[in-house]
């Protein structure tokens, strides 16, 4: 088969539906990545317009441009959009688009999940946009502190839009994070061991692990605050055993890592683009990997530095102040590695490099002001002033927007297959750089003079007029620069001429593909034996196009790729992907219906939506798998591999493991909240403890243990040629018993509306009950699969996945029941 025939055959297998209908059914990472990026930059535009409205308001004293109610919505939505609807989705979009190409594979691990994540983002973002257009947008600041955002002080629907809309959008981030973790660890070109992974993949892996552990506390906080607002369960009301500081802990447990979740992918872009711009390789690859991992972990020890003025004892403050200073070290290691890379190479002042230099200047300044606010006495002075706003913009704009603009200009030829024709970009960079520093240097200054953040106006005699005016004019200069980038990119897309492949002479695998890349990425998969496979091997694209790699002989209808062992890069399984489907958009729409029913408080719709999600989820999984064994398949280069459905550790198992890690963080945060309220909140102990019940405790624990053991027995039975149904039936019975025990607990919880103790127990039991029902549903599903012949001793991948859920259920039910009953037992 020649290269052209192979290309046509692969295109038939991998292509999306033609025209706009393809947007709704595509699951291809190239399409979804582009959709993510287009949508996130639309939101960047909206957030930017809001920023200009804020600067217009503050340009002059006693301004009547907008009133305080509208102004509150403007700054809240500006922060919310930039953080949740622009920065994170831009990382998601870029990584979705690039990772499979960089890793030398054909798609991400779970293509339908990629698409589902996008549609959750689209619908959730649309919900937020709707609130903005109709003047009912959130107005409590982007970190939504209660009691301001509680039912008493924010009775309207505005806050609900934030709590429900952002939770909906966060589903997208969790989906992407699970996807990236599995893809980076398992979906790489054969031979690509951990030390040969592109540096961007390391950063994406670290960021994804951070999303899995950083987002659940915020999701929990949002759930608790919404439940308080909707049903009166008092988690944050001090007189009823709650504490508004609990929100701050949960929010900043997410919020500080969030800063690094935004910065690290951008640092990945810098570490990828900078060496190419300097005609060399990255200095200290291993040090940079270690620094990224260190930064990720240390960032989880900083959350209280946002709470230095809340009255926490000095020792507690000192822990976080020390951690906040320490985090500068791995950041510094990366910065010095980049400087060393420039020193080692021959920097060329191309457009991406200009943005990288802009990043250096801005981010280092932001880092230094970060060390200033990490010191408690300074923070006490600067807290809640414009100084802090300026600092965070230096870190986020410097640490994210400049690198992303560098990345966009760097990968634009890959996206479009064209070379730049107009030279607007250089002028745009100059305007952005000057405008940014004019805006935010001035804001540091006015903050030190005492201007509070989020004030809608100020008196003329405050002495801030000229500084604010300079800041506003500079802000508009920056906006003009950013608009010019947009025009430059659009012009490039529409009118530029065809460019050569790999115009930067980079060594990474994404430049091996055609520009723009075909839907299948690689006609055959490369075998990688060095970190920059393209460097010194210019014939690699031709050889892969001729089918000289793995899977070079495409099967007629299968979308195929390989997985590898995580550390060594040794190929282990053949993966057959699902094809185009509208299931992701349908599932996202029904998920949206669930959130909408909560938002508009049409609660009869909620169970219908839940049923819809369960039914579509069932269909989603059912449509996978086979009713006959496939056995090892020839994958080229003399290698035969079993399909992933005929293994114990399938991609689904890995995805489940990472999802459960996020889930466990959610549960851990709930336990932390319980302990926090118990030890710190006023109005404890509660008026009455839960009446302990050994029967309830015994049935619950016994039920989940039976559920777990039964599932294992079923897996063993299947492997030895038995049906496995009997073990699953025992497991299902155990799960039902546990669900009954948890339901009883929920009914017996003392006055959940009267004290945070009862409210917390109700949520704890509800969480466990939800998981019992979910695990029960999976056990029923597996019984149905056995009956329909979807399992065999070879086709065993589904048993360990259900086993993981059953084991997780055991852990959370035992812990939930113990913490619920123990206080009453102790007296």
């Amino acid at each position: 088969m020649n290269a052209l025939r192979r290309h046509r055959k692969l295109t038939r297998v991998w292509a999306s539906e033609p025209g706009w209908r393809g947007w709704f059914s595509t699951v291809n990472h190239t399409d979804v990545g582009r959709m993510f990026l287009a949508t996130s930059f639309f939101f960047f535009l909206v957030g930017g317009v809001l920023a200009m409205l804020i600067r217009a308001q503050l340009a002059t004293p006693d301004s009547a441009f907008v009133g305080p109610e509208v102004y509150n919505q403007l700054f809240t939505m500006h922060g919310t959009i930039m953080m949740f609807l622009f920065a994170i989705p831009t990382f998601e979009g870029l990584a979705i688009y690039l990772l499979p190409k960089m890793l030398g594979t054909r798609d991400l691990a779970f293509p339908r999940l990629t698409s589902y994540g996008y549609w959750c983002y689209f619908f959730g973002g649309g919900m937020m946009l709707f609130s903005l257009l109709f003047g009912i947008a959130p107005d409590g600041g982007w970190f939504m502190y209660p009691p301001l955002t509680g039912p008493l002080y924010s009775p309207g629907i505005n806050t609900d839009f934030w709590l429900i809309g952002i939770t909906f959008v966060e589903i997208s981030a969790i989906c992407a994070a699970v996807e990236f973790c599995v893809s980076i660890l398992r979906y790489r070109a054969p031979g690509m061991s951990l030390d040969k992974m592109p540096i961007f993949a390391w950063y994406a892996l670290v960021t994804s692990l951070m999303i899995l552990t950083g987002f659940p506390p915020l999701i929990l906080g949002s759930v608790l605050l919404e439940v308080e607002r909707a049903f009166g369960l008092p988690f944050f009301q001090a007189d009823l055993g709650g504490d508004s500081l609990l929100w701050q802990h949960l929010f900043w447990l997410f919020g500080h890592p969030e800063v690094y979740i935004i910065f690290l992918p951008a640092a990945g872009v810098i570490s990828t683009v900078l060496p190419v711009m300097c005609r060399t390789t990255l200095l200290g690859y291993g040090w940079v990997v270690a620094a990224a991992v260190a930064l990720a972990f240390l960032s989880f020890g900083l959350w209280v530095h946002h709470m230095f003025t809340t009255g926490i004892p000095h020792m507690g403050l000192a822990f976080f102040s020390a951690a906040s200073t320490l985090v500068a070290v791995p950041t510094g290691v990366q910065v010095f590695a980049w400087i060393g890379t420039m020193w080692k190479g021959q920097p060329q002042l191309r457009l991406p490099m200009l943005h990288i230099l802009g990043f250096f200047v801005t981010f280092v300044m932001g880092g230094l002001t970060g060390v200033m606010v990490a010191i408690v006495p300074f923070d006490w002075q600067a807290h809640d002033t414009a100084f802090v706003t300026a600092h965070l913009h230096y870190v986020l704009f410097g640490g994210f927007v400049f690198p992303i603009l560098a990345g966009i200009y760097y990968w634009l030829p890959l996206f479009t297959g064209r070379k730049r024709f107009f030279r607007l970009g250089e002028w745009a960079f100059a305007l952005i750089f000057v405008g940014f520093h004019g805006t935010f240097l001035a804001m540091h200054w006015v903050g030190l003079l005492g201007q509070r953040r989020r004030i809608e106006t100020y008196d003329a005699d405050a002495g801030w007029t000229a500084i604010n005016f300079v800041s506003s004019v500079s802000g508009f200069i920056m906006a003009i620069g950013l608009a010019m980038v947009l025009i430059d990119v659009l012009l490039h897309w529409v009118v530029a001429v065809r460019g050569e492949r790999n115009p930067w002479h980079a060594g990474s695998l994404e430049w091996v593909t055609m520009n723009p890349p075909p839907a299948y990425n690689f006609a055959s998969l490369p075998h990688v034996d060095k970190r920059e496979p393209l460097a010194g091997d210019p014939d690699l694209p031709v050889r892969l196009a001729k089918g000289e790699g793995y899977l070079g002989d495409p099967f007629v209808t299968w979308r195929e790729t390989l997985t590898v062992e995580a550390a060594s890069g040794r190929p282990d399984y053949l993966v057959i992907y699902p094809t185009n489907t509208r299931l992701p958009i349908a599932l996202a729409a029904v998920t949206g219906l669930f959130f909408l029913s909560l938002l508009i408080k049409v609660y009869w719709l909620t169970p219908i939506a839940v049923f819809g999600v369960a039914a579509l989820g069932w269909w989603w999984v059912w449509s996978q798998g086979r009713q006959s064994d496939l056995g090892p398949q020839d994958v080229g280069r003399g290698l035969s591999l079993p399909p992933s459905g005929e293994t114990d550790r399938s991609p689904g198992w890995w995805g489940t493991a990472f999802l459960l890690a996020a889930n466990a963080t959610f549960f851990g945060s709930l336990i932390f909240g319980y302990a926090f309220l118990w030890t710190v909140a006023p109005a404890w102990p509660p008026p009455e403890w839960l009446e302990p019940s050994l029967l309830e405790l015994g049935l619950g624990v016994g039920g989940v243990v039976a559920g777990s053991v039964g599932t294992r027995v079923a897996a063993r039975g299947n492997r030895t040629g038995g049906a496995g149904s009997s073990g699953l039936l025992i497991g299902l019975a155990g799960t039902v018993v546990a669900a009954a025990a948890l339901s009883t607990l929920m009914l017996r919880v003392p006055a959940p509306g009267g004290h945070a103790y009862g409210a917390t127990l109700l949520v704890l039991a509800g969480y466990a009950l939800f998981h019992a029902l979910l695990t029960g549903l999976m056990q029923v599903f597996l019984i149905a699969r056995i009956r329909r012949g979807y399992t065999s001793p070879r086709r065993r991948a589904e048993f360990p996945i259900v086993g993981l859920w059953a084991d997780y259920l055991t852990v959370i039910v035992v812990l939930s029941l113990v913490v619920a009953h123990l206080p009453g037992m102790l007296g």
Partner: protein, 107 residues
């Protein structure tokens, strides 16, 4: 996956210890442990110092294990990264928790 665990283990242990000792600090302050005296030190201070010491010892143990032939990685790259992060864990344990030795506990 064991190699990934080697890379993550030291900072993970630091994070768990850091959160745990911060939690212990909250519990001790809430229940007035600083009022109970043992060997002319408050019980609270002893508990905090013991936890800090245990954390540092565990980090030293991890670092030695990551350097050893028995527990360290066979891959040179993973060994270097994991040992570097072993040092990160140890330094972080000493530096971020040193306030237990020098600051007043609950004021």
């Amino acid at each position: 996956m064991i190699d990934l665990l080697r890379i993550l283990i030291a900072p993970l242990v630091w994070l768990a210890a850091f959160s745990g000792i911060y939690g212990l600090h909250g519990v001790g302050c809430a229940y007035g442990w600083s009022e109970i005296t043992v060997l002319s030190l408050s019980l609270f201070r002893v508990a905090l110092l013991a936890s800090w010491g245990a954390t540092v010892l565990i980090q030293i143990g991890l670092l030695l294990a990551l350097c050893s032939d028995r527990f360290g990685s066979g891959s040179l790259f993973v060994r270097r990264v994991s040992v570097t992060l072993g040092w990160v864990g140890l330094v972080a344990a000493i530096w971020t928790l040193h306030p237990v030795a020098i600051l007043s506990s609950c004021s």
